[in-house]
Amino acid sequence: MNDIIQQFWQAFLWSDGYHFTGVAITLWLLVVSIGFGFVMSVPLAIARVSRNKFVSWPVWVYTYVFRGTPLYVQLLLFYSGLYSLDVVRNHELLNVFFRDGMNCTLLSFALNTGAYTTEIFAGAIKATPHGEIEAARAYGMSRFTLYRCVILPSALRRALPAYSNEVILMLHATTVAFTATVPDILKVARDANSATYDSFNAFGLAALLYLCITFVLVALFRRAERRLLVHLRPIQA
């Protein structure tokens, strides 16, 4: 245990001396994919609940396919699959983009979490009380104002518990990144394992780090929920 900590503590946390590794990379993967996923999923969720079939159907197909297949397979598809195509390799820009394991990882993670988040937000939008929308219409709000001022603020808040779940699942899903040569916590643990053959401690240390990050995330989301969902809390006698 001590050997591994002495040799690898820096690599586990932020750097192996040359590149960022470990916790730093895991958090970077998480923040970037969650960020892109969020930005994508708000308009997609609005499209998903649209009554126009031509708008809602493509979004349904997207979420269905990305939620119906494992993230690991999606990563393989973007990392080794796309780069094996001549079309991609002969195109200058695509070649540069898909040659880098980090880019492929972020792309597949963002698309994956985007699909789950879209469904979460769409569910919350659909559950908006009918009276709120009627009231907004009675005030003569346009569709855009209706979404901006009434539906989205309330729906995104109500989605928070499910959304926090998705963020934590995404943290757990970032572990497949090492298959695309991204040096996250698990990659360092595997290096430590092959250097010392002390599997239990090498992977145990990684498990401990993930556990800590999970607990921090859970605590943060609990605080956010307490603040943002005040209006939905049951009245205490």
Binding site: T69, L82, L186
Partner: protein, 229 residues
């Protein structure tokens, strides 16, 4: 030819994926029932143990646990057999894969079953006691069928997550549908196509299970009327 001659292997890989998921489901189901019993137990120690199990397992990524348990299980078993002066027992990847996945998802099933058991009205159990049923009869004839109704949406969710998690076993050396398609893609230089095949197989499996689960949900909600709005 069917999938460039890799059809048979893809089928075999798919069969392994299904076997692995179903066997892990059975293990996770049993662990979940026992764990839920522990979590609603009045014994403080048992309750603490069950809580520790679900918190630790659900807080750590499944892939990390998979590698941790997979590599340590054999070493741990060797220590035990050495201490008992027995011959070494070799765990094959399939057995350790099933045990590991079952152990991990058992934690998720524990939470599902715990919530479901608590949703069964207490009067039902009291009525059973009043009729003079034994503990086991109350569990099997009254609690279990009603609990399943509440647990099914959670079970369905866990199953879909677990089915997709089986893709990770190729990393610990099992030749599942993902591994087969990686190999087929490499040797035929059609990586993209064969990865798509693997994705298609998973999409098919999740779709079929969704249909089955919908049917089960209908079966277990017999006698419940949905609110008509």
């Amino acid at each position: 030819m069917f999938l460039d001659g890799y059809g048979q292997q893809i089928l075999a890989g798919t069969r392994l994926t299904i076997e692995l998921s179903v066997l892990s489901l059975l293990v996770a189901f049993v662990i979940g029932l026992v764990g839920a019993g522990g979590k609603i137990s009045r014994n403080y120690l048992i309750k603490a143990l069950a809580t520790l199990y679900t918190t630790l397992i659900r807080g750590v990524p499944d892939l990390v646990l998979l590698l941790l348990i997979f590599y340590s299980l054999q070493i741990g078993l060797n220590h035990v057999t050495d201490a008992l002066h027995m011959d070494q027992i070799d765990l094959d990847p399939m057995t350790s894969g099933v045990l590991t996945l079952g152990f991990i998802y058992g934690a998720y099933f524990t939470e599902t079953f715990r919530g479901a058991f608590l949703s069964v009205p207490k009067g039902q159990i009291e009525a059973g006691t009043a009729y003079g049923l034994s503990h086991w009869q109350i569990f099997w004839r009254i609690q279990f069928p009603q609990m399943m109704r509440y647990a099914l949406p959670g079970i369905a969710n866990n199953w879909q997550v677990m089915l997709k998690a089986t893709a990770l076993v190729s990393i610990i050396g099992l030749v599942d549908v993902v591994q087969v398609s990686i190999d087929a893609g490499k040797s035929s230089y059609r990586v993209f196509f064969f990865t798509l095949v693997a994705a298609g197989v998973y999409l098919m499996l999740t779709t079929v299970s969704q249909f089955i689960l919908n049917g089960l949900e209908k079966h277990y909600s017999m006698g419940v009327r949905e609110a008509e709005l």
